[in-house]
Structures are given as C-alpha cells and as structure tokens.
C-alpha cells in the first residue's frame, strides 16, 4: 500500500449498505472505502453476505438502504442509462467459470460484445480481441472456440479478459479461484496481480480462503452474518488479529510444514440464521470469550490506529499470532529433519 493513495479520494465508498431479502438480512449496515489500484479483500464463510455486497456495489441488485459512491457519483441515484455507461468502469469476475460464459457464444463474440457496446476499438476489433486473449495468457487461435472447449482455468481467463476489455477501474472478483484446481489458482492470482499493476485496477476481492487473501490483498475486511467485524491492513490483520472470529479463521489456514501443527480454534455450533440474527454481538453465540455485555449490546466497528474491530473486549483477549500457536507434530520427525539439514550441510 502506497502512503499517497490514502490521501487521495477513494474510488468507491460504500455507506451503511443494507440488503434484506424479505426477512433475511444478507448485508446489514456495512461501510468501507476502496482506493484506486488497491485490493480490498472481503472474507467470511459462505452465507455471510459477501457476494451480495459485491453485487450491490455493481448495482446488479438494488439495496434496501445505504449508498455507494463511485468516483463521487451516487450509484443508486443514477438512471438506468447512466448506470449502463458507468458499467464501463466497474466489472466483475465470477466464481463459476462454467456459468459465467454464454455456452452459445464464441470467445470472439463474448469479447467483442463489450467493445461494440461501449464503442471501443472501432475498426480494430479483431486486433483488440487478439490482444485481450494474449493479455490473459491465451492465443488468438482460441477466438473461434466455444466455452465448452476450454478447461476451468482457461474459462476463468476468458472471464477475466471480458472484464478487462472495457478498461475498467474497479473489478469485483467474486471468489475467482474457489472453483479452480489448486494448481491453477496461483496462475490466475498471478494474472490478476499482473493486470492490476499494468492498468492500476482496484479489486474488491471476495474470498473465503485466507491463504489466497494473504497473497493478493492490501487490506482485509472480515464479514460475519452481514456485518464487517474487522477491517485492517493485511499485515496488521494477520500479525495481530483482534476479533475472536478472525482468530478462528486464521487458525484454520493449513500450515505448509508437515512437522508443525497449529492449535486450532474450532468454533462451536453453526452460523446462526441471518433470518433472525442474535441480539447484541452477532458472534456471541459461538464466541469463546462471550460475556453478558456481548449478549445485550452490539459492538460498533471502531477504529484504533487504522485497525477497526467490532468487539467490546478485544483488548482483553489474548492476542493470537499464527506463529505462537505452532507446535511440533512429533519429536521423531523433527529430529529426522534436523539430522537431514545438518547432514546436507556438512557434505
């Protein structure tokens, strides 16, 4: 994160966004800002409202209340026609690379469609399509093919090319790698980062996988039951998470070292229904540190040195750092590894 970008105006500002589907409170009063060229990750388990939040930002669905300011324009105050024009600046990459491409359209048609709609690359469409394909690591020879002729990773690349085609400033990435094989994920993430550097894109990166988020995000917002419970710089969040829910999420990241085991904080019970969220702090039903006050009073999202958290007692909860909770799995493996390392060094 560059220091200078904080000073400038945010590209997008969500203000007290609320979306209720009938009685279900999918998104309940969330606010955040997104700056040009940065990646804000929105994490949380499924059903916490993160995808709904992403679709609200693009006005794919109408909010129950709240505002979204995109480049100082009130997104929900615009007429349908103006929104269509603004769509050039904000795009989306979907989770499911099978559902997000029209099965009856060739890749060429799919990429030419946004160009034609916004009057881009007039007279040079074939060249632009080829360029877009190269940009995402495919070749111009793929242009005449249909989606079913591609693998999941390739389809996701086509989806990315379609989003980039209109040269947007913001892309909502709705779990863009969750549906892909682990081996393909890194490639797609690298592609997204590469495109961000080249075009100064801002990403709202929706994910449930913290390992991916750690790699790509600059700031992280943690959602639980329609609310943001913690919002901080990535480093701060991973080094010293404050909300007990974040503790639990971090403890679930697999350790890439077979000899070490992390102490898991396994949450009790299921996520309560968003239909009737718990009173007070929404997390109190599963929080190991819950007290009387948590049941009655809802904690506001309060910032302390740039690190916001919605918890009454975060200062009193023992700080959780991922390194401190690692313990050796078994003595023998550790000794073996040590012997291997010293043996390798001496020869």
């Amino acid at each position: 994160m560059l220091a200078g970008t904080f000073v400038s105006q945010p590209l997008l500002r969500a203000e007290r966004l609320v979306k209720h589907f009938k009685a279900v409170r999918a998104v309940d009063d969330i606010s955040f800002e997104l700056y040009t060229g940065e990646t804000l990750a929105l994490v949380g388990e499924s059903g916490c409202g993160k995808s709904t939040a992403g679709r609200l930002l693009l006005r794919l669905i109408e909010p129950t209340s709240g505002k979204v300011w995109f480049d100082e324009r009130d997104l929900f105050g615009l007429a349908e026609r103006e929104v269509r024009l603004l769509r050039r600046e904000m795009q989306i990459i979907f989770q499911d690379p099978y559902g997000s491409l029209n099965p009856r359209m060739t890749v060429r048609d799919m990429l030419a469609e946004p160009l034609a709609l916004h009057g881009l690359a007039k007279g040079k469409q074939p060249e632009r399509v080829a360029e877009l394909l190269r940009l995402v690591g495919l070749g111009p020879e793929h242009a005449g093919r249909y989606p079913h002729e591609f693998s999941g990773g390739q389809r996701q690349r086509i989806g990315i090319a379609r989003a980039v085609a209109v040269e947007p400033r913001l892309i909502v990435c709705d779990e863009p790698v969750s549906a892909l094989d682990v081996s393909i994920r890194a490639q797609v993430i690298n592609l997204l980062q590469d495109l961000q550097r080249r075009f100064g894109l801002a990403y709202l990166f929706i994910a449930h996988d913290l390992a991916v988020v750690k790699h790509i995000a600059a700031r992280v917002a943690v959602m639980y039951l329609g609310k943001i419970v913690e919002l901080a710089d990535k480093r701060a969040l991973f080094a010293e998470p404050r909300h007990p829910y974040t503790h639990a999420l971090l403890s679930a990241i697999p350790v890439p070292d077979p000899s070490l085991k992390r102490e898991r904080l396994v949450l009790q019970g299921d996520v309560p229904s968003a239909h009737r969220p718990p009173h007070g702090c929404r997390f109190h039903t599963r929080c190991p540190h819950a007290r009387e006050r948590c049941r009655e009073e809802e904690p506001p999202l309060a910032a302390a040195d740039g690190h916001s958290v919605a918890c009454h007692f975060w200062k009193e909860i023992e700080p959780f750092t991922s390194a401190s909770r690692l313990t050796p799995v078994n003595e023998r493996l550790t000794r073996l590894q040590a012997a291997f390392h010293t043996g390798g060094g001496s020869s």
């Binding site: 679709r55 693009l58 794919l60 269509r84 024009l85 769509r87 050039r88 904000m90 795009q91 989306i92 979907f94 989770q95 499911d96 559902g99 997000s100 491409l101 029209n102 099965p103 009856r104 359209m105 469609e113 946004p114 709609l117 916004h118 989806g159 379609r162 085609a165 209109v166």
Partner: protein, 276 residues
C-alpha cells in the same frame, strides 16, 4: 418415408393428374368411380373419384399439401407468440409473468380443439360471408396457433427462469447490455433447444387439429379440400359402399402424421448432444 410424403405433398400441383380446385375439370358422370383395381375402376382415377367426379389421388395430394402448410404455419405462429410471451414473462417476472401464466392456465383447462373451434367460430361470425372461403386458411392457422402457444410459453418461461440466474446473464448486465438485448442475444439461444423439439412434434398435432376442424365442418370448405375435409365428405358415403372416398384420405393423414412425428423424434435425438 417422411421425405416421400412431404415431397409428394409439396409437388402436388405438378404430379397430380387433375386440379381438384377447379370444378370445371370435374366430370359428374365419373362420380363414385371405385379405385382402379376394382370392378368399374379406371387408371384415370387410380384411387377412385368422389361425389363430384373429382380424382381422389389429386385431392389427397393437394389436401396433404394444405394440411402440411396449415400445420407448419400454425406451429410457427404459436412458436413466435409463445416464445416471446414466455421469454418476457420469465425475464421480467412480476405482474406481467403472473398475467401471462394465469391466461395460460385458464387456456390449459380447455381442450385445445375447443379453443380452436371457438376462435374459428367467432372469426366466421365477425367476418363478412363472402370473405369466408378466402380467409379460411389464415383463420384456421390463427385458431390452431392460439390454441397451442401455451406449451411454448411455459417451456420457455421455465428455462428462462433458470438461465437468467446464471452468471453469464449478470455478466451481460455488467457490460451494459439492455434487458431486451440480453433476452434476445443471451437468453433466447439457450432456451430454444427444447422448443424446437416441441415444435416438430406439434406440427403433427396441428395437422390433426386441422383435420378435426375440417372434419367437423368449421375448417376448410370442400372447394379447397384438406385431408380432414375429404374424410368428412367421404364419411357421408361410407355406408352406401363408396368407402374409398374416406379411407384413402384417412390413410394419407395417418402416414403424414406418423412421418412428421418420426422426423420430430429424429430431430430431437440429433439436437441432443448427449445422444450423439
């Protein structure tokens, strides 16, 4: 076989020995000629002749042509109407969807033939008597089409409801497509598969409906006989011994419907990539 049937029907004006629409060509003294292989039959009237001395083979060929044409046109009419209403209802939702589907429900509670009869009857009363014969074919097409659109509308609405939730439709919205364009460019091609299969099978149904209407006397007049009209005319003479007037058009109708149905089955298999 389908090709033979359809080909014979299409080529009727060129291969039929006689023009069955031209009363001047009929010879009344040749009326009630039995088929060529029976006593009294001649090669000139291979399948016999009817009460007006009209050559039955020619009448059947022309009748099949009319039946097929009416069937095709009625299905096209129903298809366009049903698909547009179903697509709009599924995509728009809300009151429009409710309205269209309630109308469809109401119509489904009547037999299709009753609807066609009703429309045909109303049109006959509403239009001047002189114009009736001339507009008999269009009226019949509209009547059969209006009785058949519900199936398309329901099928298309169902698939549209599924397709519109898919992410490619949202992607089209995000790139700034208008709703009408999304419906036509993105949703329509993805919901047409089952519709085309229904359509081929419905052609047969439409031919039968037309024949039924004509048999009941509200379809085509005897001056422009379809297969149904021929069967009706022949029915009057069934018990006086001239069975061929009704049996041969009946056989032709069965053959035609069967072959169109087989074509529909074949098309369904050919269009379904899972069966290939």
């Amino acid at each position: 076989m389908t090709l033979a049937c359809v080909g014979a029907a299409l080529a009727a004006p060129w291969i039929a020995p006689q023009d069955p629409f031209n009363p001047a060509a009929f010879e009344l003294n040749q009326a009630f000629r039995p088929p060529a292989w029976l006593d009294g039959g001649t090669a000139r009237y291979f399948l016999g002749s009817d009460d007006q001395g009209r050559d039955l083979l020619s009448a059947i060929l022309h009748g099949a042509r009319i039946s097929l044409g009416v069937g095709l046109a009625a299905v096209c009419f129903a298809l366009v109407l049903g698909v547009s209403l179903g697509l709009a209802a599924g995509y728009r939702g809300g009151w429009f969807d409710a309205l269209v589907m309630r109308i469809a429900d109401v119509q489904l509670s009547f037999p299709a033939i009753l609807i066609a009869l009703l429309i045909d009857g109303v049109a006959r009363i509403a239009l001047p008597a002189g114009a009736q014969d001339a507009i008999a074919v269009p009226v019949l097409i509209v009547a059969i089409g209006l009785s058949a659109w519900v199936q398309y509308a329901r099928t298309v609405r169902g698939s549209t409801l599924v397709e519109k939730e898919k992410e490619y439709v949202q992607a089209a919205r995000v790139i700034g497509r208008r709703p009408l364009a999304i419906m036509l460019v993105h949703v329509l091609p993805n919901v047409m598969g089952p519709v085309l299969v229904i359509a081929t099978i419905q052609i047969a149904t439409a031919i039968i409906t037309e024949a039924t209407l004509s048999f009941l006397g509200v379809g085509l007049p005897p001056t422009r006989p379809s297969l149904g009209t021929l069967i009706r005319v022949g029915n009057d003479f069934l018990f006086s011994g001239e069975w061929w007037i009704t049996v041969f058009p009946g056989v032709a109708l069965v053959t035609l419907v069967l072959s169109v149905n087989l074509l529909g089955d074949w098309l369904r298999d050919a269009l379904n990539p899972k069966l290939r």
